[in-house]
Amino acid sequence: MRRRIVVALTLGVVLLVASAPAASAHGERAQEAFLKMRTVGWVNVEFTGGEVRQGESGADEIFIGQGEEITITGITTLLSTWPGTLGGGNPNTGFISVIAPGPVVTIEEKTVNGVSAPHRITISKGGIYEFDMTIAGRTPGRWHVHPSFSVKGAGTLLGPGRWINVEPVDGYTNPLTLASGEVINLENYQLSFVWIYSLLTFFIGMGWMFYWTLRKRTVQNLAVTSQIPLNTDGMSVGLILKEDHRNMNWFLIVTLALTVGMFIYQAVAWPDKLPQQVIEFAPPAFEQAGAVPVATGISADYDPNTTTVTMEAEVTNTGNRDLVLTEFTTSTLTFDVEPATLEEAKLVVAPGTVGAGETTTLTLTLADPRWEGDKLIPTTESQLEIVGLLVFDDGTFAEVHAPLKTEF
């Protein structure tokens, strides 16, 4: 009977663990729609490099080997609709990076507005940040990877993602050149040293514990200790002996010798050391290449039966050439008049062109089940609004937001 119970429990645990699928999402669906739409916008996010071929999703996916690099480029901006409830309504610190299910890729290079930006940056509402990130494959598998913009007070906000398949490569290493010229492998650098040293301290501790627990009785001592004062070692009754004091002195000497000896060793072995660096700066301002159009949202109607948002927006072309609307982006969704990947949805717009110097009302039809799948329709929230960016053929873009109406 007991054996059966043990077998059943073991089998239960094994089946539970073995049948659990690996998580490939990042919790973005748990975020409220306003948090994803009213905070940051994404423009022209592109993944470049690797081999692009049909993957498990049936769509084009990226295939790279371990250590092989690809780049993620694009523009992100802090929208004027940034909620007053997040970061006091005045976001000032951000961090542009990538989101993946753990360290399945490594970040090798990162610039924001043309400047190397490994750490946090100073940001402000309305700021535009052009990023260029080089990432390399690390953990074999199929991973969904997004660019991300973390903003203090709001958390991590995601841009459009792609599936990246990392294939194993024999002898994969992650090299880093130190200032001394030594090339190390970040995957296991000094791991043995750390474990051996840590284990040595553990052995000393176990020695200390074995000394007391194997040589002396434990529970039985209570009959004696309950009858003597707390501030005595009970030497007169034989609880702790002079011999114990002497042996514990030796334990202390060995411990201090190891600590001081290794402290001297590290000073000799690694003489050049720095405190951890904290790099924070305001990146140079980014200006859009052309005359920036102005967009005003008029209405946004959502049809839950077809999961379609129909938006009317008045666009003023402030330049001297016609503008053609090519994209509407919001959060992780991109609607394109000519979708390049299956992850992009179809944008239908009429009329599609705004003449130079003119103001035109555009009607955008944005149909995609991910409006609901990604929880981007805020019908359960306190701010019923659709927010996004209109992207034009000259690369300029304009923020648009319109009140949302839907059926209940």
Binding site: G94, G102, P103, I107, V224, A269, Q276
Partner: protein, 258 residues
């Protein structure tokens, strides 16, 4: 004279009691206690550490010279202090701190290896846990010599922090070497923190080199250690409170009642 004789008689009685054989209480009871309690103590110690100093213990790029030695000794001395009181009071063993340290070592190492290494594939040289054992030996030795919790808290608490820092600085040292990377001079630990993606821990959450302890010609570490030592003393008495008021006293009441 009579008092000395009385004391000697009492000592003789206690000495005899110390070596008395009990029919039902043998070494197995001791083994049961030490082994089963290790899980509770290890978990309690590790959870307390993670509550107060989790990220500093997780990542090399958080293990700085300022906040790491202030927060961590305070966090880890609490449960060790409670165990020190209980084991000294009940069995006159100066083992509470070391017992906590080795139990925590096993828990933290196993957790790091399984959760961060096997499940998430972080390189373990980025996420190794601190070791408390050397500092614990010093604290237990201090109790053994002083036989006083007040002196142990003051002398042991300060020594605990200093030895803890020295023993753990040894492990972080190779990761503080400079490297030119992304057109910046960064430490190896910084590079690890940037390269290995931490999905919901953006870099600006890192509390390192953050504060105004800038006196003494920039020798931040000494100021941090002094402050960390004082905090350890406070942490030590939190542990004593846990042991005396929450562990021993209720049991005492229960025992008297029944």
């Amino acid at each position: 004279m009579a008092s000395t004789t009385g004391s000697t008689t009492k000592d003789a009685e206690l000495r005899e009691l110390l070596h008395r054989n009990y029919k039902y209480i043998d070494w197995k009871w001791n083994a049961v206690f030490w082994i089963t309690a290790a899980f509770v103590v290890g978990a309690a110690g590790d959870i307390t550490k993670l509550l107060f100093a989790g990220d500093w213990d997780f990542w090399t790029d958080w293990k700085d010279r300022q906040w790491w030695p202030i927060i961590t000794p305070f966090a880890i001395i609490i449960i060790g202090s409670a165990l020190q009181y209980i084991q000294w009071l009940a069995w006159r063993f100066p083992t509470g701190m070391v017992y906590t340290a080795v139990a925590m070592w096993v828990f933290a190492t196993f957790g790091r290896w399984v959760q961060w290494g096997a499940f998430l594939d972080y390189p373990l040289n980025f996420v190794w846990p601190m070791t408390m054992v050397s500092a614990a030996v010093v604290a237990d030795w201090t109790l053994l010599k002083t036989k006083s919790f007040v002196l142990t808290s003051i002398l042991g608490g300060m020594a605990f922090t200093i030895v803890w820092w020295m023993s753990n600085y040894v492990m972080i040292a190779p990761f503080l070497q400079p490297a030119l990377w992304m057109d910046r001079v960064l430490t190896v630990a910084d590079v690890q923190g940037i390269e290995y993606v931490r999905s919901q821990t953006p870099e600006y959450l890192r509390i390192v080199e953050h504060g105004s302890l800038r006196t003494f010609l920039g020798e931040t570490t000494y100021v941090a250690l002094a402050f960390g030592g004082v905090l350890s003393i406070a942490g030590y008495w939190i542990g004593q409170f846990i042991a005396r008021a929450l562990a021993i006293w209720p049991i005492g009441r229960f025992m008297k009642k029944w």
